[in-house]
Symmetry: C2
Subunit: 227 residues, 2 copies
Amino acid sequence: IARLTGVGKEYQVGDQTIVALKPVDLEINEGELVLIIGPSGSGKTTLLSLIGCVIYPSYGELFVNELLVNEMSQKQLAALRLNSIGFVFQSFNLIAPLNAFDNVLMPLQLKGIPSAIAKKKAEAALDLVGMLDRKKSLPKQLSGGQQQRVAIARALVTDPKLILCDEPTASLDASSISTVMNELVSLARSGKGVCVVTHDPRLIAYADRVIKVDGGQATEISKEGLT
Amino acid sequence: IARLTGVGKEYQVGDQTIVALKPVDLEINEGELVLIIGPSGSGKTTLLSLIGCVIYPSYGELFVNELLVNEMSQKQLAALRLNSIGFVFQSFNLIAPLNAFDNVLMPLQLKGIPSAIAKKKAEAALDLVGMLDRKKSLPKQLSGGQQQRVAIARALVTDPKLILCDEPTASLDASSISTVMNELVSLARSGKGVCVVTHDPRLIAYADRVIKVDGGQATEISKEGLT
Ligand SMILES: Nc1ncnc2c1ncn2[C@@H]1O[C@H](COP(=O)(O)OP(=O)(O)OP(=O)(O)O)[C@@H](O)[C@H]1O
Ligand SMILES: Nc1ncnc2c1ncn2[C@@H]1O[C@H](COP(=O)(O)OP(=O)(O)OP(=O)(O)O)[C@@H](O)[C@H]1O
Ligand SMILES: [Mg+2]
Ligand SMILES: [Mg+2]
């Protein structure tokens, strides 16, 4: 679903050049759950944002659904993300004036899904993450873990081919973590491509493949090599 | 340093009454590291926000430094927080247009600390969390874990009596976690009151006392009872 060839990212901060990600070759396939693990500041969010067409590469070529992403306009990228990608952001990015239900409903409305069907899908997604009883609450009325769960529901509600989650369990307790991870595994089994960024090694158990990121360097490692 | 008698918090959401925290008696003493642990949505942030004078109780009395907080004005509370409390927020609350250095410097400037001394303290705090080389970066130019570390530096820079941390390690990797937790333990040993909210049971090892929160109910439990 996603293919990176020599893709890297740099930022300019004043007179400093920050290499967020060194050039990497990588493929994300349907039916797999890929874990991206590494220390703070190592480049995990950068790698996921490139795969998810949220930022442009500084070098290399990025293909999603066999389309070359580098040349696409912001408008084309937005359409690609809406139709094919579900993204759980590290800081959730919920829309502050909308309640939980409307946050989850929004991608379906943008896709023009008929209202009655959209509402059923939004309720099912909230129910899955245990947030249906708080559907009328605004983000600021929810705890950190509750906001994270609404963000997860929103990413899954459009049934995307590629599901990208940036530390989706950082604010969750043990039972919510296993609910979310088991759901991501079953989505992978049903043919989706799933990528989870984390610094929590306990999630390795759920992964089919593991990519280690350190100081901007991404390398695939075998699960067995990790204990 | 902080004493709660029958303190509870409720919110009104439309026609729903949400009990965020049931009435609880609790003391936070100097020289102790108290861990507040519990599932998502259980009331941990609410409890910490009450202790830190960020929100008013719905019932009960709250004393900080022997002062009755319930009757204080917003201005008096702001002065109390500036002089006695260091707070690491669950979503960091860094000031977006200020770089890392100026974010950490700000509480010192608000206290009227002379500029040369303030700059030294801000640099030392950033150095402690390993963020000195990024002091000119804006929050949006930093990774999640880097922002969390800047938020920790800012909470510690005024040398407060009471240090309150809401999930301070949620975005950090193993080595940053032990750096931060060891520093919090040593601050407690030097006579400060330290409260850490977390859902990560691995932090229990650093705690002197443990308070479990579940469905708004806070109860003190013995460390031994937790493995
Ligand atoms: N917009 C930006 N401008 C400058 N530097 C940036 C920007 N975005 C990211 N970086 C830098 O790129 C590096 C990698 O950042 P990234 O967010 O990918 O890390 P991460 O692995 O997700 O970290 P964490 O686990 O802390 O979230 C960091 O040093 C970060 O400060
Ligand atoms: N401003 C508010 N309005 C309405 N309800 C609120 C508000 N703030 C918190 N709550 C509710 O109070 C309960 C406790 O919230 P709190 O933020 O204390 O949980 P928490 O234990 O910190 O959770 P997490 O681990 O997910 O951060 C939750 O059900 C939350 O939705
Ligand atoms: Mg990140
Ligand atoms: Mg919380």
